[in-house]
Symmetry: C2
Subunit: 237 residues, 2 copies
């Protein structure tokens, strides 16, 4: 019996923190289906292309973000795969979603792709296909990973202050953190932050020390947010 063959796409959930809000890079559709709705940037994978390669290519082509705008800052990881039969009304498409975290960069020059606040996207639901669901899964993954990894630094410029890092946590989690305790926790964690020796006053007040991200990928014990949120699983039979 013949092997069924399907169209496979890569969709990107690219998140950043800008203007005190968690934002996602969204594509404004200008034709049917879902004309006028927001969709995640993405596209079909090529026959000779590995999945992460396709994700990087689409990040440049469709999201307008070159692979390494600042060295080492752009994070890209596989999120999950979505494949129920009628998720695209035209044809069956299996979509491998990738999660990208970026500092506050200028997006593409194209007007079609825009940073959009995640809250608005989730509440007003003008998202095409199942992209609201994929976006939610990506946001929840990012929230969870801030707890036990150094990923928050991916939202920051190459050099950042402890308070800037804290604001990332507060905006992504949507809850305030004690500045003093946060400071001790992240500066006390082994290999988590590396002081550069420089300082900045860009946030006003007393000069703050600047750090770069250390090579520790895990944060143990984790930073804990209260209310674990009803952790809705990505997929379950």
């Amino acid at each position: 019996m013949p092997v069924p063959r399907l169209a496979v796409t890569v969709d990107l959930v690219v998140l950043t923190v800008r203007e005190q809000r968690l934002c996602a890079l969204m594509w404004r559709r200008d034709h049917d289906p879902y004309n006028g709705c927001w969709s995640l940037p993405g596209g079909f994978i090529q026959l000779d292309e590995d999945l992460p390669v396709a994700a990087s290519r689409l990040m440049a082509e469709r999201a307008g973000l070159a692979d390494t705008p600042v060295q080492g800052t752009l994070h890209l990881e596989q999120l999950a795969t979505y494949g129920y039969p009628d998720r695209d009304p035209r044809q069956r498409v299996v979509s491998v979603a990738y999660l990208g975290l970026a500092p506050d960069l200028p997006a593409s020059s194209r007007a079609q792709v825009l940073w959009t606040a995640v809250d608005d996207l989730i509440n007003h639901d003008r998202a095409a296909f199942d992209h609201r669901r994929i976006l939610c899964d990506g946001v929840e993954r990012a929230r969870a990973k801030l707890e036990y990894t150094s990923l928050a630094a991916a939202f920051c410029p190459p050099e950042f202050t402890v308070a800037e890092l804290r604001r990332v946590y507060e905006i992504v989690w949507g809850s305030p953190l004690d500045p003093r305790n946060f400071h001790r926790k992240v500066t006390g964690a082994d290999r988590f932050l590396i002081p550069t020796g420089r300082t900045t006053t860009r946030d006003g007040g007393r000069p703050a020390r600047l750090y770069t991200r250390g090579d520790a990928e895990q944060l143990r014990p984790p930073m804990l947010r209260l209310k674990p949120l009803t952790g809705h699983l990505v997929d379950r039979a």
Copy 2:
């Protein structure tokens, strides 16, 4: 330009604990490529079939485990997707891997599918395709999730003792835990274990209370294993 179409499979990493070892359900290949090697049970998805449905179907067809041998015990979740171009020498295949956790059940009656110790599989490397890599990712996911979820109970029969649960942790993590502290931790966690009132002496010694799994999915604060292992990411561009 035409949309490329690819073969899509679902592969299963099904884990259990038996005879004091962590075991995976493996398929002994009897034809090329990789004749004589072990491969993960799996197969092509059908055109009208959602991914979790395909995973359940293949769990029955190829792994010989019916969907609910014991109600609620069998856990199935999406693991990751693998798609680099030459992972199957015959044709390009994108594979969505699922992770299953099961109590110590008799596997299929077919001789072709067998419980095999994970240590041996990883050390001797007689695995077909990239199935060693997928297996490792599944094992690492299971290890990590024992820390902060109640998933260890998925390896146990419907009613189990605290010591049986502890042995799951010890075998999956490969390191001993203090029985007293473990006991207090899991019995003290809210909604984690529900006492049935019954006891058993099947492990010898003083009768142990039997529990069923509670409805808490998270364990906070987490159970922590030392040496976080070099957490190798599933996928990264």
